[in-house]
Subunit: 205 residues, 2 copies
């Protein structure tokens, strides 16, 4: 991992602006967590892409009783993620998370060997990670809430179970939701890592 | 607002442990945001309590067609938040957020005039705020997803609208969800504030 003790890099910082304070000689060494950060973001990207692909490929067509007549009162009926606004929101949120992961992987890699920009990037990453966590967590909750109604139904208001008919559709949903829960955990860890790294720099400079 | 430039307080830090580094003479002054932090947490507490009270008092009983017979095929039927697991999760999450807000208000007030503990508290608050944000955002999403099905129904799977019958119940739901969305925004701001305060201390010590 790159260390942030290179004095030359500190001198490169902000041409024209006053030079930042040099590290204190009595300060403890700062461990650089950007390699861990990049690894977590790669996992986040993989989780987001998996989550989107699994839910988008969940289409299932079944031969079920049809309200529109059909043959002997039966007809083909399709279950698709875009039949519910909650799942559309979920796909949009996971796509945003995937795109965000990709951009921040590049940003994190680009400062791996430029210690002078690391503190500023940590601040911005922590800010944005929190926002993306809010979006992904709410999307996971929203899709999970609707999927649970599909799984168990709700006898109080007469909403029927869907998963007993559309088994493949619901398996895809469950898989995608598990992955997005993992993405939420990753985002919490990423934010914690940025905050911890910022905290570790307090007694360094 | 209390300032963290009091050298006596720094010397009180950690009896037995090595004394922390003194502020650099060339460092810019650090603004102390703990008063803002306390104000935001009071708002969060108010939002959480309001959200819980509004959804818990949403019971509504209506004279509707009954599947169990009743008088002329009609009967009284109650809508209550605990008929849906999503709303139960929502109430639990908002209660946790309220309790958390209460505890952290006391913690923030207690360090207002003890600058030596502020950095450590900021770190812990930022860590916990992120967790609570994840919980509240997912609960808001989950309750919102189910409430939306109640409002619009879903013709693809034959889930009927509920809000056309239970108007008061749905108004309470909508009010509570608006408040919890506000709580999510507050939690994002609180995390940002803690992160920003930590960052501001980097060139101070």
């Amino acid at each position: 991992m790159a260390s942030s003790t290179d004095p030359k890099s500190d001198q490169e910082y902000g041409k024209g602006a006053p030079p930042p304070p040099q590290p204190r000689p009595d300060a403890p060494a700062v461990v650089n967590y950007f390699a861990v950060d990049v690894a977590l973001r790669v996992l986040l990207f993989a989780a987001a892409v998996t989550g989107v692909v699994v839910i988008v490929t969940s289409d299932q067509t079944k031969w079920v009783p049809s309200i529109n007549g059909g043959i002997n009162g039966f007809g083909y009926r399709k279950a698709k993620f875009n039949h519910s606004p909650a799942f559309i929101y979920y796909v949009v949120a996971m796509s945003i998370a995937g795109l965000y992961a990709l951009i921040t992987i590049l940003a994190s890699i680009s400062v791996l060997f430029k210690p002078s920009f690391q503190t500023k990037l940590l601040l911005h990453l922590a800010f944005l990670d929190v926002l993306i966590l809010g979006i992904v967590a709410s999307a996971t909750g929203s899709a999970g809430g609707v999927a649970y109604v599909g799984l168990k139904g709700n006898k109080h208001v007469g909403w029927i179970k869907v998963c007993s008919t559309y088994d493949k559709f619901c398996q895809h949903l469950a898989g995608s939701l598990a992955v997005s829960l993992f993405a939420c955990v990753l985002l919490v860890f990423l934010t914690w890592l940025s905050i911890f790294s910022l905290h570790a720099r307090i007694h360094k400079y």
